[in-house]
């Protein structure tokens, strides 16, 4: 049965389908519809309208430790506040899904026009070194599908997986038949609290015992966690590629920007990463090789272009679409001017 569904609703329904047991959040446009949908499910799931963004992610961490699949959702200003909890979940290796529906920043910015300016915040917003798994859908159907995949990846990696959306995508309504979508579900990977004498801590620790002044051990620990994240990421290497043998330029875009530039596929090749981080280095290097130019079109001032350039080790042109508006004609003209 086809239904008209909004991006945010698809995220909420995807989470429920993945086995969501706990949700906490704080109201923020353009993410609040996720919260509204799940508030209706109170009783079936544990739902908390928390006092703030920091509380909501920490509650989700607690609920995940206690045995429930947990999620929180927010937008850029809230994402900045949640970074503390994201770091804690990385250090304690707690499965969790964090949804960030991006809007123009910094600070309160342009409430609440869409943006893609949280890309680096999603990768590296919390302090210290860690690898984040970040997914970015581009349709309502994908909002559903990749919310489920985010939960699976969270269980497999035991980490806080980030699902990025933009205000356009979150408020986009499309007809979708959710029953048609095929997926597998990962079971809980962490034994719940109350089953032993384990110690979870934000400190560097060895089998639950803090080990905070051993540099050699830190290096071993970091190598293990990094390998873990990279090997799990390999299983979630989602992307889309429109090959174009006539083209000399490869466009890279994600989320709503990829939707907007799709009509350009007759003239350019287009690569759309769905797993934004870790950057899809393997496929990207191979795909970009034959093209003379690589252009990243994004609603930020080159945040992802810098990441792509780092991986490709060659010049990457940034085409920023700023200020919360996106027009195909403008992008076409900017491409012609390159």
């Amino acid at each position: 049965m086809k239904q008209l569904i909004m991006g945010n609703e698809a995220v909420a329904r995807g989470a429920l389908r993945a086995g969501l047991g706990f949700f906490a959040a704080y109201p923020i446009t353009p993410a609040s519809e996720i919260m509204h949908y799940l508030a209706e499910k109170e009783g079936e799931i544990e739902f908390v309208h928390a006092e703030d963004e920091i509380a909501s992610i920490h509650m989700a961490i607690g609920a995940s430790l206690a045995g429930l699949k947990a999620m929180t959702s927010t937008s850029g200003p809230g994402m900045s506040l949640k970074q503390e909890g994201i770091g804690l979940a990385q250090m304690m290796e707690v499965p969790l899904v964090v949804v960030d529906v991006q809007r123009v920043g910094p600070s309160t910015g342009m409430p609440t026009l869409p943006s893609q300016g949280d890309v680096l915040q999603a990768k590296h917003g919390s302090h210290g070194d860690y690898l984040a798994l970040v997914f970015y859908p581009a349709s309502v159907e994908e909002c559903y599908r990749y919310t489920i995949e985010a939960f699976n990846a969270a269980e497999e990696s035991r980490s806080p997986v980030i699902l990025l959306l933009d205000g356009f995508l979150a408020h986009l309504s499309e007809t979708v038949d959710l029953r048609r979508i095929r997926f597998s579900l990962k079971k809980r990977s962490l034994a719940p609290l109350g089953t032993g004498n384990r110690h979870f801590t934000g400190l560097l620790s060895k089998e639950g015992i803090p080990n905070t002044d051993d540099s050699q051990y830190y290096r071993q620990w970091y190598a293990r966690v990094k390998n873990k994240m990279l090997s799990v990421a390999d299983k979630y290497a989602f992307y889309e590629y429109w090959k174009n043998p006539q083209a000399t330029t490869l466009l890279i875009a994600f989320g709503i920007t990829a939707r907007v530039i799709r009509p350009l596929k007759d003239r350019y090749a287009i690569f759309r990463p769905i797993r934004l981080f870790p950057v899809l280095a393997g496929p990207l290097k191979e795909i970009a090789a034959p093209y003379q130019r690589v252009v990243v079109v994004e609603m930020s001032d080159g945040q992802y272009a810098g990441e792509v350039q780092r991986v490709l080790q060659r010049e990457v042109i940034s085409l920023p679409v700023l200020g919360g508006e996106i027009h195909l004609q403008e992008i076409k003209e900017a491409l012609n001017a390159i």
Partner: protein
């Protein structure tokens, strides 16, 4: 389980200084756990950051040591995730009342079924002895070298402003009272907050002229009196329990 079984001996010795009050309180907690007959899989302990925040790791149960000020939301998530678990929050005044103050207001308002032990030593001990929201007016600390200009936060007033509450004040000296209060707090079907009047000798007391921890303990003995049937408010020098 015997009280010794609630201690994670592999973590010994603790990080706490000789003469510190936190060890005294920790001991009263494990005595209480034995007396209540709790099993290992019935309890989890959550702490924030600070000297008191290290307590979670010394309990021989599943325990969580979280970011600064966030013990309460993590504990609430755990309780909602598994309502059968007894959840004990053991942390300090800087963590629970200072940086975690907003969570304290709202966890108490939601009346989440948690037992909270707040070691009030009136300072940030782990970071060297700075002024806390609980530091008395006039006290000299690293961040109030000319004397604290502000009055301390009224924790009793904050907790008892709610529709339902369990607020207790006890001390590191009055250990029988403290044990009794801990058992009552665990039995209370809602948010139970125990403010334990404690002290910090190394990074607070010494600057104020105390030489040993027990001098600070005797000071507490001299000031505080137990009120077994308080009316609406505990006076500044009273220990007791207020419930509604």
């Amino acid at each position: 389980m015997q009280y010794k079984d609630f201690v994670k001996w592999s973590r010994w010795p603790t990080t706490w200084c000789g003469g510190c009050a936190i060890g005294i309180v920790f001991k009263q907690v494990i005595f209480s756990l034995e007396r209540m007959g709790l099993a290992q899989n019935e309890l989890t302990v959550v702490s924030g950051i600070g000297c008191s925040g290290r307590a979670a790791g010394y309990f021989n149960v599943d325990s969580v040591h979280v970011t600064h000020g966030r013990a309460l939301p993590v504990a609430e998530g755990i309780k909602r995730g598994n309502p059968h678990l007894k959840v004990l929050v053991f942390s300090g005044d800087g963590d629970l009342v200072g940086i975690g103050g907003n969570h304290l207001i709202h966890t108490a308002r939601r009346n989440v079924d948690l037992t909270v032990i707040c070691i009030n030593n009136q300072t940030y001990g782990m970071t060297g002895g700075q002024m806390a929201p609980t530091t008395l007016k006039g006290t000299k600390t690293l961040t109030s070298p000319h004397g604290n200009r502000y009055h301390p936060l009224n924790i009793q007033g904050l907790i008892t402003s709610n529709h339902n509450y369990f607020y207790a004040r006890s001390s590191a000296y009055h250990i029988n009272h403290l044990q009794k209060v801990i058992r009552e707090a665990f039995a209370w079907p809602g948010f139970a907050f125990i403010e334990v009047v404690a002290y910090c000798i190394e990074n607070f007391g010494r600057r104020l002229g105390y030489r040993f921890g027990y001098e600070m303990l005797l000071k507490i003995k001299g000031i505080y009196k137990i009120n077994r049937s308080p009316k609406e408010r505990l006076k500044e020098n009273e220990l007791g329990v207020l419930i509604k």
